[in-house]
């Protein structure tokens, strides 16, 4: 049986004043698929995700969510999308539980769901803690918890682990891996950490300067690249990871 495409991005362009942020991107994300938009800072990942979220409008091209356009279906989409923006700061003087309660109310959900989410993201012990007193990792877990409240069909995470220490990053990955096993949620996450894309995602889209440079599964990407390179100049062996692949494609590191 063919899997349903929950997100379709067709030849999308977006510019801001002097910056052409997205230049003709095409994407298709299937139900239950975990997709990474991998690229360095300023590659156009966030703009792309914000257009999928409906926060930005494309200058040209088309974005379809479950086969429908944003226009006229905003309410419906808001109910099925969960998201975590880059650097969102919640209300400092609300506790973890109060923050979840607030956002749960927007989806007409009660405290039971908040308890479940608190358990899922491992913040039970921080239930009464004010947001201002949480560590970076805990805040990120809270943002993830808020994104998961409505059991979203589509989860959009913009740099969910940027600035976190390796331990906190692994904890976030564990939560997402659990989600992958337990639900049919489709995930798009933007990242410039190759390990994140490798660990979490079935499909990786490498973006730079608003364009897709390469896309495919991890195996495909590394394999294809070595073949491509063999045909060209001198070959010193296939890239061992996505960063090496990125260097070969652009001459730069992912996290430059």
């Amino acid at each position: 049986m063919m899997q349903e495409a929950v997100i379709q991005v067709r030849n999308v362009h977006k510019s801001f004043k002097t910056v052409h942020a997205v230049r003709g991107i095409n994407l298709e994300i299937l139900s239950g698929q975990f997709v990474a938009l991998l690229g360095p800072n300023g590659a156009g990942k966030t703009t792309m995700v914000e257009m999928i979220e409906g926060i930005q409008k494309p200058d040209s091209g088309e974005i379809l969510i479950t086969g429908k356009q944003w226009k006229g279906h905003e309410k419906e989409f808001r109910r099925i999308i969960g998201l975590s923006l880059q650097e969102t700061r919640f209300i400092d003087k609300l506790s973890v539980f109060e923050t979840l309660r607030l956002f749960a109310s927007f989806f007409s959900l009660g405290p039971q769901r908040c308890e479940e989410v608190m358990n899922l993201v491992g913040l039970e012990e921080k239930r009464q803690s004010y947001v201002v007193n949480l560590s970076g990792g805990q805040r990120q877990k809270l943002a993830l918890g808020v994104a998961l409240l409505n059991e979203p069909k589509i989860l959009l995470l913009d740099e969910p682990t940027t600035g976190l220490d390796p331990q906190a990053r692994r904890e976030v990955w564990m939560i997402l891996n659990k989600l992958k096993e337990a639900s049919s949620t489709s995930l798009i996450l933007t990242t410039h950490y190759m390990e994140e894309a490798e660990q979490l995602c079935d499909y990786i889209v490498i973006i730079d300067h608003g364009k897709i440079l390469k896309e495919g599964t991890l195996k495909d990407l590394l394999g294809k690249s070595s073949a491509d390179i063999e045909k060209k100049q001198e070959y010193h062996g296939p890239p061992r990871n996505l960063d090496e692949l990125f260097i070969e494609l652009t001459g730069r590191h992912l996290n430059e």
Binding site: I55, T88, F106, N150
Partner: protein, 380 residues
């Protein structure tokens, strides 16, 4: 030279200067706004050619020249000093006396013949500070001894009255301190403070709160859910207005306990008027915060709106101290409207009839600004 250019400190200075100069809004708030404030405040407090003070003279025929009347010390004084007689279209009688002073600046005294009730009303509104009451050569100066302006006017005027060339001198003078409720400076101040509190609370509690949430991307995060946008604003305004009720209530309670201030007019009218004032400022606050996500700009916008009103709207002193040409404009400020209305209920005993028009105007201001703000409101 290269060493200097490459130094950390120089590069840091350059970076900071560029950051500042490349943000025109910051430049405006840093340079333009203080200049505008200095112009406004300068108009009010800079040494002027003439300071104009109004003095009420109680009773009849103290100002008009009339041979058949009994002797009046005030009239004699005014006639001797050639004070100009002015009869208003509405029959009001006043005399204007200009006393030049090269060093301290001149003073123009406007003596208005009033009955006691009108004089008290004007005193409560801060339109005058000294009431003179003459009875057969016996002068009584009525003023609030706690009001420094009133003391100064009394001292300056009584000095003039001690002129040795004055043909008729008062047989006796007496100071009558006005400490009855409604005529003291504190009676004037408390309603003004209540209104200023409402304005500041709406500006910072609604406007700044929205801008801060926008700058933290929390607003964007919230509207990415099925949250109704109107609910967000209604909740914010409701909480703020409720807080304003509590804050103002506590201030009035304190003023009642400590200064024995009472509300002489209609309490239901006061509640209606208070809600209208809150609505006006909440609407203005939403409009102010509708577009910017920079807290520095928000800060500046709030100051731009609230500071002039705080200075000009007669919160701490009567706006009649400002030039006459500016008063009609000052009276149209929402804070002036609210302060005048709340004062009239507190100290003049006003009811619905007196406040219904400004109430409707303030509600309309609130609705217009709220609607306009909502039209261009930036949620993302």
């Amino acid at each position: 030279m290269n060493k200097l250019r490459n130094s950390q400190l120089w590069q840091l200075i350059l970076a900071n200067a560029r950051e500042l100069l490349r943000e025109p809004a910051v430049l405006f708030w840093g340079i333009g706004f203080p200049i505008l404030m200095s112009i406004g405040l300068g108009a009010a407090f800079t040494k002027k050619k003439d300071v104009t003070v109004t003095i009420a003279v109680i009773g009849h025929n103290h100002l008009l020249h009339s041979q058949q009347d009994s002797v009046s010390v005030i009239r004699t004084f005014l006639l001797k000093n050639k004070a100009v007689l002015i009869i208003g279209k509405d029959g009001t009688i006043s005399r204007e006396l200009n006393v030049p002073d090269e060093k301290l600046g001149g003073t123009t005294y406007i003596f208005r013949e009033l009955n006691w009730n009108t004089a008290m009303t004007m005193l409560k509104r801060g339109n005058l500070n000294l009431v003179i009451d003459e009875n057969q050569g016996h002068l009584r100066y009525n003023f609030d001894p706690m009001n420094p302006d009133a003391q100064l006017i009394y001292l300056k005027f009584s000095k003039l009255m001690n002129d040795p060339d004055l043909i008729i001198r008062p047989s006796e003078t007496e100071i009558q301190p006005l400490t009855v409720t409604g005529t003291r400076y504190i009676d004037f101040l408390i309603p003004g403070l209540v209104c200023m509190g409402v304005m500041m609370s709406c500006m910072w509690g609604v406007s700044y709160d929205i801008i801060e949430k926008r700058s933290k991307k929390l607003l964007r995060r919230m509207v990415a859910t099925p949250m109704k946008r109107s609910n967000f604003l209604v909740a914010l305004i409701t909480v703020r207005i409720s807080m304003n009720f509590v804050e103002s209530g506590l201030l009035v309670l304190f003023a009642w306990l400590v200064f024995h201030i009472t509300i002489q007019g209609s309490i239901p009218a006061l509640l209606l008027f208070f809600i209208s004032g809150n609505a006006a400022f909440a609407g203005i606050a939403v409009f102010l915060s509708c577009n910017t996500s920079k807290t520095e700009i928000g800060n500046g916008l709030i100051n731009l709106v609230s500071m002039p009103m705080m200075v000009l709207s007669g919160i701490f002193f009567s706006y009649h101290n400002f030039p006459a040409w500016s008063i009609p404009a000052i009276q149209k400020f929402p804070l002036t409207m609210m302060a005048d209305g709340v004062r009239s209920i507190f100290i003049e005993g006003a009811g619905f009839a007196e406040i219904i028009v400004p109430s409707v105007i303030m509600l309309t201001i609130g609705v217009i600004f709220f609607t306009a703000g909502l039209k261009i409101f930036k949620w993302h």
